[in-house]
């Protein structure tokens, strides 16, 4: 059903997310401050999560009705209801994975902040160039 314009617009978003991945990787590798590296790492993990959600998305059933969230509204679904539901609902599996990844990413970020604080207490700086010079 989707026209070339739809594919183009969706591609803009997808390529913007992929460029986000690249820019945040540049931040992780090239910026000297550990704090900036942590910010870039959170952006990187969030971009990967958005890409996973994009994989689970689907085309619209028709141009005026969007897909629906993967939530059953019927307490006693019949096979026919489920087959109708599967025609319009998005894929729930990437959403479950991303939900876990968001929470684990929070824990990893807190741990990295703790490590940065310890680094600051030991060396008096969070600049990796200065820390490298101080070593040995």
């Amino acid at each position: 059903m989707s026209t070339e314009l739809d594919v183009f617009l969706f591609g803009i978003m997808t390529y913007a997310i992929i460029m986000n991945l690249g820019v945040s990787l540049y931040g992780v590798f090239r910026r000297p401050s550990i704090t900036k590296k942590i910010i870039a790492l959170t952006i990187f993990s969030d971009s990967a999560n958005v890409l996973a959600i994009i994989v689970g998305y689907r085309g619209w059933p028709n141009p005026w009705h969007s897909p629906i969230p993967p939530i059953l509204l019927n307490r006693h679904p019949t096979p026919q209801y489920i087959s109708e539901f599967a025609k319009v609902a998005v894929d729930p599996l990437p959403q479950a994975l991303v939900l876990t990844a968001v929470v684990i990413g929070l824990a990893v970020t807190v741990f990295l902040v703790f490590l940065a604080l310890q680094l600051y207490r030991l060396y008096g700086t969070v600049d990796v160039r200065k820390v490298r010079r101080l070593r040995g």
Binding site: A16, P32, K36, P63, I68, P69, L117
Partner: protein, 89 residues
């Protein structure tokens, strides 16, 4: 005539460009507090993208974590360690 589908994809493309802009400014910015604010802007764009891509449960988790907790934790780190991205030799 512009259908609802095209309009939605247009909003998605706009949000993607906003998030790219936020990421670029957050990485380039020397002042770390401003970088955190740009990062929160990018996270807000991501939250809207999640909502439009039909993942409301992720929005419920992502908004407090990425717009609330991440900036709070990183601001705490910035308060302890200093505000500038190290450019002085």
């Amino acid at each position: 005539m512009l259908s609802m589908e095209t309009l939605t994809y247009g909003i998605l493309a706009l949000l993607g460009v906003i998030s790219l802009l936020g990421t670029y400014l957050a990485i380039i910015e020397k002042d770390l507090v401003k970088a955190v604010i740009f990062s929160a802007l990018q996270s807000t764009a991501y939250a809207f993208i999640f909502y439009i891509l039909m993942a409301p449960d992720i929005v419920l988790v992502y908004v407090p974590v990425a717009v609330g907790l991440y900036p709070a934790i990183v601001l705490f780190l910035i308060k302890k360690t200093g505000r500038l991205d190290g450019d002085e030799p």
